[in-house]
Symmetry: C2
Subunit: 905 residues, 2 copies
Amino acid sequence: MTNKYVYLFEEIEEAEKYVGYDWENVRSLLGGKGANLAEMARIGIPVPPGFTVTTEACNAYLAAGEQFPKGMWEQELEAVKAVENKIGKKLGDPSNPLLVSCRSGAKFSMPGMMDTVLNIGMNDEVVKGMADLTGDGRFAYDSYRRLVQMFGSVVMGIEDELFEEVITKARLKAAVESDSDLTFEDWKAVNEEFKKIFLGETGFDFPQDPIGQIKLATEAVFKSWNGKRAIDYRNASKIPHDLGTGVNIMTMVFGNMGDTSATGVVMTRNATTGEENIEGDYLTNAQGEDVVAGIRLTKPIDKLKKEMPNAYAEFEEICHRLEQHYCDMQDVEFTIEKSKLWMLQTRDGKRTAQAAVRIAVKMVEEGLITKEQAVLRVAPEQVDFFLHPQFKVEAKNAANNSGDRFATGLNVSPGAAVGQVVFDADLANEWATKKSKDVIMVRPETKPDDVHGMLAARGILTSRGGRTSHAALVARQFGKPAVVGVAAIEIDLDKRQMNAAGLIIKEGDWVSIDGTTGEVFVGQLETLVPDIDDPFLIRLLDWADEARRLEVWANADYPSDAEQARKFGAQGIGLCRTEHMFFEPERLPHVQRLIMHQGDPDVVKESLDTLLPYQREDFAGLFRVMDGLPVIIRLIDPPLHEFLPAQLDLTREVDKLEQTDKNSRGLAEKKAQLDAVEKMHESNPMLGLRGVRLGIHLAALTRMQVRAIFEAACQVAKEGVDVHPEVMIPLTSHVNELKVQQTALEEEARKVMEDRGVIVNYKFGTMIEIPRAALTADQMAEYAQFFSYGTNDLTQTTFGISRDDAERGFLIEYMEDKILPENPFANIDEEGVGKLMEMGVKLGRQTRPGMEVGICGEHGGDPKSIFFCHKIGLNYVSCSPYRVPIARLAAAHAALEELKRQKIE
Amino acid sequence: MTNKYVYLFEEIEEAEKYVGYDWENVRSLLGGKGANLAEMARIGIPVPPGFTVTTEACNAYLAAGEQFPKGMWEQELEAVKAVENKIGKKLGDPSNPLLVSCRSGAKFSMPGMMDTVLNIGMNDEVVKGMADLTGDGRFAYDSYRRLVQMFGSVVMGIEDELFEEVITKARLKAAVESDSDLTFEDWKAVNEEFKKIFLGETGFDFPQDPIGQIKLATEAVFKSWNGKRAIDYRNASKIPHDLGTGVNIMTMVFGNMGDTSATGVVMTRNATTGEENIEGDYLTNAQGEDVVAGIRLTKPIDKLKKEMPNAYAEFEEICHRLEQHYCDMQDVEFTIEKSKLWMLQTRDGKRTAQAAVRIAVKMVEEGLITKEQAVLRVAPEQVDFFLHPQFKVEAKNAANNSGDRFATGLNVSPGAAVGQVVFDADLANEWATKKSKDVIMVRPETKPDDVHGMLAARGILTSRGGRTSHAALVARQFGKPAVVGVAAIEIDLDKRQMNAAGLIIKEGDWVSIDGTTGEVFVGQLETLVPDIDDPFLIRLLDWADEARRLEVWANADYPSDAEQARKFGAQGIGLCRTEHMFFEPERLPHVQRLIMHQGDPDVVKESLDTLLPYQREDFAGLFRVMDGLPVIIRLIDPPLHEFLPAQLDLTREVDKLEQTDKNSRGLAEKKAQLDAVEKMHESNPMLGLRGVRLGIHLAALTRMQVRAIFEAACQVAKEGVDVHPEVMIPLTSHVNELKVQQTALEEEARKVMEDRGVIVNYKFGTMIEIPRAALTADQMAEYAQFFSYGTNDLTQTTFGISRDDAERGFLIEYMEDKILPENPFANIDEEGVGKLMEMGVKLGRQTRPGMEVGICGEHGGDPKSIFFCHKIGLNYVSCSPYRVPIARLAAAHAALEELKRQKIE
């Protein structure tokens, strides 16, 4: 017995039986297109008769060294017969010819892998018959030449250019502008030329036998599965290479048979807004490709209602039926041949984020899907759309076409921003606040004292820096669109201008930056401001919250961020970076003084006494906003030299002053600074005196911070705030670091609470951001009451990669060359970093069952990484406020996908 | 029934029975001193009668809140009676008084924990009786005052100063210089003063009841176990705190009873050379403490042969018997009281490295111990003694006392060196080679182009740099003594001098540096040059080789190192660092040109073509030396900027030229260099573009290196050399790096072999020096045919610590504060780094069973780390040539200790 390789559309139930009644398997066997055609036929929707050659046949063909598997071709011939019988036409019969199309169709849509061949069955005899039958010789020869052209280029690999040249010449000769103005004779002549080209390029005549045409087309589709284009596409889309493609042979129907014929492409709902109306375009007297090609001006679908009311009513009913059947918005193709409606394709329709959300919510209301399904219908990243302005698609397309895009950089903070270029923070602040101008702040890179300008600007653009550069971090923190590391621009701060490959942009000129894509445009592109308070989104996120197990916290340093985060649904603060506050102008001098005189206890005390009330106020504000929720405050982390000028700059300044003004007081001061900076110099500061090492080294500073935290906590507790501080020690690698530091700090905390007579519900814990901490998490948990994964640092040390350096250099090469499948700083590297994380969770909870473990690295806002965090049993992810809604949805997806898997198992 | 807490010396067998006939347990129960006294008694050696109160009694006493356990004191009283009966004297009986000593004795010797109390039993009556009995009042009162003094200071905690002041005054009053010149009356008066002090300080009279004295002394010894001094000592020596101490009460015998009495301390062999003769000192008519105190000039032990031939003969026989019994050289104390020999102590004697080796080997010959025992008798670090010159102990002591030690730094390369200070490499080379001077090269830090000077120098001294600084690496590589990071010296290169806390040392002045300890002396200290060809050492190492499972390979870049390594017993080259060769003067310009014009394939090709023959010769030389053994060659590892001048220096030079010589060609060149350096600048080069990342980025360079390796291999194979190249790819973190790089390089290798028509037995493999590589070692092993742990880098990334920075800073603090129990760069951190290593071995061999795994980080030469490497099943350790013999012995220890453990289990 031979296998069954060919299924008529009406044989769908046999196919289902063969694969065990699983729709996914039907799609695997017949391909998406074939499965849906058969399904439509089954539920009584008019589909032109046809059949599908299975993906198994394709795989067998390829495995056997391009030999049809036994019996397949015979089955295909029988299927052709069945189609002929059904439609009452016959292949190659000039008096009653059957024409068919041949289309590939894999399980997953692979546009561009292989085109369609239409009008199979045409030959020198049939064309004449068709001309007679239709009374339209022009139509007949146009159809024939299309077959020769498609067959030649798609099946035989002849360059399409050769054919197109012939048509161009024909147009010139006929002195017409459009193909549609060519006559019957013109097309006939064109076709003769085409056949000559075919002979010349392939060495044999265009095949006149329709069965031979089908055979060659089937083989061509099979072979195309292993073509370079297809392999590349599958690699890029992560589609497995062993699926194979189906071949769909279907009776041709013609929308170009006069004014009672038409063809169109339609979505069953509005794919942009999600509104509940059919939306699409059609053409009267035209073929499907004409609609897509955009040569003729299409008509909106509701015009069809007037033009062909009966056909429209049937079509509308079919659209509704398809939605009810597939429980999703459909993207359909139809043709009306002489008033008779045929459906040629249906599939789930692509849609914007906004539409996705509305459709999902509405379909729950309509009883088509469950809440859980609705949640899964919207990709987490799509939520981003509601959080940031976007450029209008048309505006961006136009700008790209006109060459207004002058550079591309790293897309470090999403959203679109339009403004006038400003080259320093003070001016940015002035223009924005005093003159109400929209500004884009442009700098080689930003520093902590640029923050006021960054906050005032609409967006940030830098020529240097990577994904964790200061500019990127601050921008994400405050939801400012930002593009950094734009190597193609050269900024001349003296001339107040920048040069992008010859294009000079001066201060005050308008630019538009797209932080979502990293594109930078000259001029003002039109933007669209979506609404986070979209009622559909709110309902969807509520459902997501019901489904998820992971909590979503936010990284926030200031009360205003925390407020934003809470509004977005954050359930706690997972990371407050205390040192950011040290950069504020009224504090920095005290911090610098402290650093310069570390050895002098009096100065240290004085500086800390000055800083304490500031920090206390920072924390009190945060606690008030987060009333009732946990707030994790991380003790000082960065190396001290970050608070002082750079060594190179200082050295040059000193050199210069030595030359010009040897006796100035400035020189002595600079020299003292330089001396301090030199002493603190480290060749690899990322691996140097920072985090807990600094906390132990400058114990008085961390003690001050803890005092400030607990003084603030006691103060707001007295105001009636429900306060839950959690003190976090960064960069630990050995349990003894915690033992020494945490013990001393807990003592300080208790002292404050005793003094104030207030008992605060607090925790002490540690970041896990060094491999050794994860490897020895059982020991760490003897002291730490909670863990928080700092996956930025953990990825750096686990890979031995300095992120800022690498993202300007070899890491980009690595991703281009596919040495790294993805950027480990964007998605958690599950095999390496993830393995450590999993160990850490397990070991930590071994010592301290049920221990709170979260993540506060940037991965906490990345949906793929959130899946992983869910899987390894974290309690929460913490991300920047603007990622919170995304994270809520991603966490729900993780939980729902897990449920699905459990059900299957 | 009460427990037995007190054992007479003759009751040793009962004690043995109680603990299950295990000598270690006997030592635990009775303490080391008590056990050995009892053991001597058992084998018929004359020991003054006495008994031991057990450590169990001590523990029970402490556990009960300082209460003797039930029955203990009664047993002690009985034991006193038994001693009285045995010796025929009676405690407190003036006519026939028994005096006893009371000494603590824990399982492990804890000097300084508690002193001895002698002459217990003296009181106001007994002293008179003693004076009468001996006819020596001076002796009697001296003995009494010693009891009061010791009892007062040791038991009652009175400051000894108070007693010593009285003696000093007595000497002044009597106008004599030495205590021995004080008379009977003097001592009597002193003793009266002592008793007054005792009363004043304690509030009660000196106890007259000898039994009371014993009770108080016993309690004092028990309590001393938990004294601060003892606890600190145990913490430092890692002795458990729950062992407790025994108390030894023993009949006093007197070496100061005239000319037929004597006392001495002796080693049964020469503890310096190991030669087979008794060695030690004695004094006639003296007490033991006098010998140790060094107040009187002692006599060498062989004088005793003449002085008291009978006693000496007996003593000699006893020494021999003790060695035969304990199978080790003994450190013994004896006293001769009126011609009667008494042994007061025996224990295994401390010895120099040289002696340890000779004694171990000789004792095998003598049939006392097995070869395996001999191997275990010598600590691996002791072998270092044979490899480097050492300062004579006396010379160092003298220099320390006279203040000639002017600084201390990091002891990065062992050995003693004496030479004249030179401040640059060229001069060092010139003085050494042309003028045959011994020089010490002194620099702030060294660079690759200083190497010729370093090689010419006797030793290296730098004011900056850490354990992996260039100076340290090169010094260890070539076995040059070196001290680096001596922060206390300020080098003024212009004035050609250095300043060490005010001491000015000029070029040409003599200094002596001790690379074993890090000490730096002014002047010429006398050295001792041991001999690696010591025949005893050779035999011992041969036995070690028989015992060990781990192979020992060496890290060597040049044929001369390899030769040295092979001579020391290396079984392969585990690491040849190819880039070192790039620094040689005729090559560096080509390397720099290559770097400056990376983008220009012509320049790249030209430079590589020039470098290829050099590298080929390097490798050919190495292969010839290592004929028959594997040679692992690591492809280029360091970041490229290391081959160019430093950014800061270049910037300043450019700034200066801009001022002074704006149009010079030099400026343009410097600017180009600066530009290149700036482009290559990385904020954390340790985590940057180096290792395989560089190898992929500059694929042509690694291809050239592989070509050179295989051209060399083919060439020497044709000469008849048995060549085994192994190509090692550094710093991999993802399997795809290996996939890309190794695949390309293996192809190049095969191409060379095909061209030359030679088949070479080769391997390709990778370093495991990044946590991710260890975590994904199963994947790595799909390509790598061998692993080599680079534990320097692995420790840096696992801890997130930049070694060079940290060892100048917080790491030192961490070790001082005991936050880190030891320096993880010196000993493998088993809990963290070691865990990763263990995972790596397991995962790697899971994919590739029996895979070759070694270590080439510096830990490969550290005995403790070698134990660990043995434990986790590595195939070899690779270390610098001068560590090879040490590693051979350490590997043997590891194997033998494992055997021991297995036997116990």
